[in-house]
């Protein structure tokens, strides 16, 4: 969408030529680029089938879906599917949870990863590798396994957390049946799982910085903190902003695995663990309410796009070079 705007002035300059002339010129270009286009073609077709065709399905949000009638045969119902959003408490809850959790993951993750990448950069030699490998371990296991691991800590009967708590003479908790603790548990698990990857991304960004800057700064007698503050961080800014915008675009898309396996998918903690994605999944598989799920899904996609475009617009206004597109 932003792209068509960008290309608009380009089109005007060529307008003077006749249409057949333009077509034959384009045909020449096509011929010249055909091999590279052919290379990209499998990917283009794949994305068309797997990503673009389902976009048509967004109209389901305005239909009453029946499996036997298919997407196109089903009846139009206007905004009926969205009605529950304003009636049921569920809707408000899942939207609030999704937004707040994602915000906390983005903020917490970015700050921690930046800090760790800066610290790693101050070291040299083998230690970096050992640290990186260890931090990375959780990234490489599935959320199913993360669910098993959190279970080892939070289990009612034998969980390690309860063991510790009773050492100190407190009553053991039934974590899975409570609501408040999850506000802290989920961000902690998210941080534990993802920190290795985000740290690596920033660390790679830092190592990509031209060493001449540091040499010059050292000659001028800059301290390590000064170099960190005046060179490393400003040069990392574009990377941070890009990842931030992308994160914002997914602000309506929660981490299904995190919110499904870690709280163990049990009802009592839904008030603080249920997010749009787990709700849609339950609607699809258990509740059989495909219509409100389609409505929420529609909202997810459209609001996500609006957030990312406006975030990008704001960044562009502040500093053109840092914008994503």
């Amino acid at each position: 969408m932003a792209n068509t705007q960008l290309e608009a002035p380009d089109m005007k300059t060529k307008k003077s030529k006749s249409l057949p002339g333009l077509l034959s010129k384009e045909w020449k270009h096509l011929n010249k680029n055909r091999e590279l286009l052919l290379l990209a073609m499998p990917g283009i077709l794949f994305k068309f089938v797997i990503a673009y065709i389902p976009m048509i399905g967004l109209i389901l949000a305005f239909k009453y879906f029946r499996y036997d009638q298919g997407i196109f045969g089903s009846k139009w119902v206007g905004f009926n599917n969205f009605e529950f959003l304003f009636k049921a408490q569920d809707a408000l809850r899942i939207i609030r949870n999704t937004l707040l959790y994602n915000m906390s993951y983005i903020v917490l993750g970015t700050i921690t990863a930046l800090l760790l990448a800066l610290l790693l950069n101050e070291l040299s030699g083998r230690l970096i590798k050992i640290y990186q490998t260890t931090m990375f371990l959780p990234y490489f296991i599935s959320f199913v396994l993360v669910g098993y691991i959190t279970n080892a800590f939070l289990d009612h009967k034998g969980g390690f957390l309860n063991t510790i708590i009773s050492w100190f003479g407190f009553e053991p908790h039934k974590w899975y049946l409570e609501t408040t603790p999850w506000i802290f548990i989920l961000p902690l698990v998210a941080l534990w799982k993802g920190i290795g990857f985000s740290t690596l991304v920033y660390y790679a960004g830092i190592t990509g910085i031209n060493t001449d800057f540091y040499e010059a700064a050292r000659l001028d007698g800059a301290s390590r903190i000064q170099m960190m503050w005046r060179i490393t961080l400003p040069l990392l800014k574009p990377l941070v902003i890009i990842l931030f915008i992308l994160g914002l675009g997914n602000i309506f898309r929660g981490d299904f695995g995190l919110h499904y396996f870690v709280p163990n998918n049990v009802g009592p903690n839904f008030p603080t663990t249920d997010i749009i994605d787990t709700y849609v999944y339950r609607s699809l598989t258990k509740l059989g309410d495909i219509n409100s799920a389609a409505a929420v899904g529609f909202l997810q996609s459209v609001v996500g796009l609006i957030t990312v475009v406006s975030a990008n617009y704001l960044v562009r206004k502040a500093d053109k070079d840092n914008a994503l597109f």
């Binding site: 792209n3 680029n33 040299s124 296991i141 691991i149 790679a204 060493t211």
Partner: protein, 296 residues
């Protein structure tokens, strides 16, 4: 990179801080391994502990007594991992290379076309309906392979790497009369080995850990990958232990079934292999990942 002149206070502080952090990150893994090696008796009496009263290999003995579901799970998982990774890598490289070429006329439209899917998509319901009603992929291995074949993020990383390959090589190959396909398969792919290794590892882990599409599309016992097996075991054990509907005979059998330790043993057997493999690829990581070259 700032030079570290021997040992000083700040370095010492950083080293200790990061070491403590890493120990905290690793401890949960250690706990799971220890639980799997603790006797059921000890688990029931004292809960999960880092230093159990009584060690035991019983959990692993039980898992290996009836290895069929685990072996089948391995088979499915290994199959989708190998096939998926190879196809995915090739597809990613084939898409990334043309958009890394600045002289490619359709560079910008294709880049936008690919990355737009990162910002906007049809959502789960339309995707599910397409996969099941129109492509008829319910209960097939393809349903586990296809959805994650081509990720824009991977293309971004691959393109970032290919940007750094010197354009003179391509030019001189062209002068020698090489066609684009020849250049791609003969020069670009071999030069991209570090990126291919890094991405390949990430993609392989993705397939190894695949459970979401399995949860959605697989209910046939033949095609259950490891992770879905773990999901089922967890719910089954709890079902048999708690449900009044479960057969009395079953209940008796499960009365001395070391559920807690077996659960963790299964988890280790399913997750372990990849965790052992991954440190060997570590050296490629920093070299292979260069995000930030997304703008095209």
């Amino acid at each position: 990179m700032p030079n570290t002149k021997g040992f000083n206070l700040m370095n010492g502080f950083i080293i200790v801080f990061l070491a403590i952090l890493c120990i905290m990150i690793a401890l949960p893994f250690v706990l799971v391994v220890i639980i799997s090696l603790t006797s059921e008796n000890s688990l029931v009496m004292n809960g999960y502990q880092f230093i159990p009263k009584e060690w035991s290999w019983e959990a692993y003995r039980i898992v290996f007594q009836k290895p069929d579901p685990l072996l089948k799970g391995y088979l499915v998982t290994i199959l989708i991992t190998v096939v998926g990774t190879v196809i995915s890598l090739l597809l990613t490289a084939m898409t990334a290379y043309p958009i890394s070429r600045l002289d490619f006329r359709y560079n910008r439209p294709i880049t936008f076309y690919i990355f737009f899917t990162m910002l906007f998509n049809g959502g789960l319901i339309p995707f599910y309906i397409m996969m099941t009603q129109y492509l008829h992929l319910k209960n097939s291995l393809l349903a586990l392979i296809i959805p994650t074949l081509l990720s824009p993020f991977n293309i971004m990383i691959m393109k970032g790497f290919m940007d750094k390959i010197s354009k003179e090589i391509i030019e001189s190959a062209k002068v020698d009369g090489a066609k684009e396909f020849r250049i791609f398969f003969g020069i670009i792919l071999p030069l991209s080995t570090p990126a291919l290794a890094t991405l390949g590892l990430f993609i392989a882990f993705g397939y190894w850990n695949e459970w979401f599409y399995a949860l959605l599309f697989i209910d046939n016992d033949k095609y259950i990958p490891l992770q879905l097996l773990l999901v089922r075991i967890l719910s089954q054990i709890e079902f048999l232990a708690n449900s009044p509907l479960a057969q009395v005979a079953d209940k008796l059998a499960y009365a001395n079934f070391p559920t807690l330790s077996v659960r963790m043993a299964m988890a280790i057997l399913a997750g372990g292999p990849m965790l052992i493999i991954f440190p060997f690829f570590q050296k490629y990581f920093v070299k292979g990942i260069t995000v930030g070259s997304l703008k095209g």
